[in-house]
Structure formats: structure tokens, C-alpha cells
Amino acid sequence: MFNLQSNSASSSRYSLPASAPSPPPNANQTKRSSSYLSTGFTNLSISGIGSSSSNNDLASPAGRGGEMNILDRPINKSRGVEVGLPAWAFLFSEIVSYSQTRVDSVADLEKRLSTLGRESGIRIISLHLLRAAQTSNNKDPKKEYRLIPALQFIHTQVYRYCFGKAADGLEKSVEGDDEYMLTLNNPPLTQHISIPKDLSQLSCEAFSAGIVEGVLEGLDMPARVTAHTVPTDQFPRRTVVLIKLDRSVLDREEGLGK
């Protein structure tokens, strides 16, 4: 829908908003079939990326009733706060093209996307744990503190929360004991992006990698997380998120024993 073109992005930037308010006729259908853009995602896009005041319309329905302060907003409102797939695709295409105007290399662009994702991830983990604690009646709220359960938590819960389904694989790297890989066969966030030839190294899933990094940081497991496209015949857009954990995490894990 929104192709990432290195040269056309800036010229089309001003024409896109005009077409944005009229969603495709099957917008509802799209929304239903793309369930990953559900409750949690609203918060991601509003809090992580949105630029507050100008985003009041996006922040509806909370923003609809005039100026409501953020402390009064319910965090568990689940109806009517979904962001449609077209809106996300538009926002993300703008994020990518904005980032692209201020970088020299593919690596820098990925770093910028990853930084944005990290900001989201830090917030996602807080919000997720808070909601989980509140639904379990605030009784002894817990978070994962061991490495493997934490990775499994990201593999299933965080991925389901952000992308609508659990990751397709969680593997330990054969190269180093500090490396783990999360695989997603068909990453939904970037499904409308086609990478031009001259940027073939780029993976916009760097944003997802940033989310994973932020979540791990929230769980006190600092790591460097990168995304790599590893196509297979069946899944040409298969993406591997590579987690390289900080030494301190492994030392702590060793200290805790089995």
C-alpha cells in the first residue's frame, strides 16, 4: 500500500494525508482480519511514537471529551480504541521516510527505528505488567526474572500483544550462548513495505527489534537486539530478531542456578 521508495517518499508526503481520512471500503474487514492492531497497539502508537498534542484526534475516544488529563484516562479501555491497519501503515511509512531524511547509512536508519521501538517496548512492558496485575486483582504482582521464561514471555505474550500472534520460533544460537533468535515468518508491522534494491540491507523490522530490546530492558536484561531478513522459499519476508544479551545477564543467570 505504502511503498518505501527512497525518492518518492518526500514528494508523496503531502499528498498522502488527503487520502488518509477516507479508508478503503473494506476497512472494517481489514481491521478484523488484522487483529494485531488491537488494544495494546493503540497505546504503542500513541505513547511510543505519537507527538502528543497534535495527536489528540488519534488519541480518541479519550481525547474526544475535551482535554482529559492522562492520569484520568483508563488504561484498560478495550473498545473503540483500535487503530486500523491503514492508519498504522501510513504512520509507519511516515516514520521511515522521516528517519530516512536524517541518516547517512542503512545502519543509522535501522538504529533510529530501533530507538523508536525501544521507547515503545519500555512502555509496553510496564503497561502489560500493570494490566496483568490489575486483572489478577493486584495480588502479588510478578515479573519474569529468569532468562528463559522471560524470552518465552516475549515470544508468546509480548508478540501476541503487539502483533496478534506468538512468534514462530525461539531458538538459541549455536554460535554463542548469549544469543537467542526470535523468528517471525510474516512480520505484520512491515507487510506493506517493499525495500528498494539500493537499500537491500535494510530491515524495517528494526522497529520490532527495538520493542524486544525495550521489553528486555524493562525486565532488567539489557541486550542488543537487531533484526535480519532471512528469506525462505515459503516465507520471503521471514525475519529473525537476534538478541545478544549483556554479559551481566548471563552471569546473574549462572548465579541463580537451575
Binding site: 488529563n69 488504561i75 493486584n138 548465579g255
Partner: protein
Amino acid sequence: MAYYLALISPSDSPIYETYLTSSKPHNQIASSSTSTFPSWSSFPTFNNNQHNVQPSSASASAGQPPAIPPKDPFPPQFLGGPGTPSKPTSGAIPNNLTGQPPQGVEKHVMQMIAFSSLDIVEDVMVGTGSMYLKMIDKFNEWNVSAFVAPSVKLIILHDIKNDEGIRLFFMDVWEHYVKTALNPFHTPTTRITSTLFDQRVRASAKRHL
């Protein structure tokens, strides 16, 4: 009855601090002493053993009617704590929920106690998945409880045992914090200066503490 709350960023800097006093008569101690600082010469037999006894007896008395004075050889007023009563003429309890430290309590001492317990918080949190760490540290009659959430630590100093109330209070403050942190302009190390946040914390304190 008196509380000190600090929100601590991942870089161990305080992003929000406040002093709270509760009007609930958990543990009223009648005394005319106005000493605000531990005078070590005033209790020469003070030793570790008695030091350890003291907080438990204080907590045991927490649930009792306020009329019964705690059977405590070293009542908190010796130790410069919140039990130190204000002068009888100025009312038993200082202004409720004003954000000012109760009379007789050194503000910086409470801050120091809270931050010195950070090491213990970090020791305890690596071995448990629980976010609420209750009564992990003691300094004189101050108990330290903590709540370890992603990218923030909540530390509270309290002089009476009130696990349940503090847990609910922590959950409330955490919710306020998360809502604040969802603001894209907030970073984990930004100081929270919002008066609204302050009001909400005080309202939660009134409800739970």
C-alpha cells in the same frame, strides 16, 4: 503513621519524592520528648539485640487499640523517627498529607535511609519475580518496603507494619507512574513535577495508608 515515598529511576536518581503522614491512629505514642536525633549517650545499653527487638514490638502494637502504649524499652522518639511527637501544644500530628516532613524528622535522613537500601533492593530483586518487596530493610524504627517495576523503583519508608495498605498504595502509584510514562515526552529519568501526579499520590495515600 509517617511515610516517605521515592520513585527512583534506573540511574538511581530520584524522580519523585514526597512525605506523607497518615491520620489513621495505628500507633499513637504519648510522650513529651522532643528529641529529634538519636542521642547515643542517652541509652548506653543500646545494642544490636535490643535494636532487633524494637521493630517487631512496634509492629505488634500496630494492630492494637491506640490507647495501649507499646511495651518498648526504646520507643521511637529516641531514634529521631516519626514517632517523635511534636510539641503537645502544636497538635499531635503535623499537617496531614502536606508533603512536608513531619516535625522532628530530618528530611535528608529519610532520603538517605531510602537510598541506602537500594543495594538491598537490588540484591533481593534478582532472586524473585515478585515486584512487591516488603520490609526488606530496617533502620532504627524505619522499615523500608520497595516495589520494583520496569524502569522504576518505588521505595517507601514506614514506621508501622501495613503490608496490605502499602501494597495497594504501591499499585496505585505505579498506575499513576505508568500513565505518566506513557507520555512520549517522559523518559525514565525525567523528574515528575506534575502537581496532578502529586495530588493523585496523596489521594491514594489517604485511601490506603
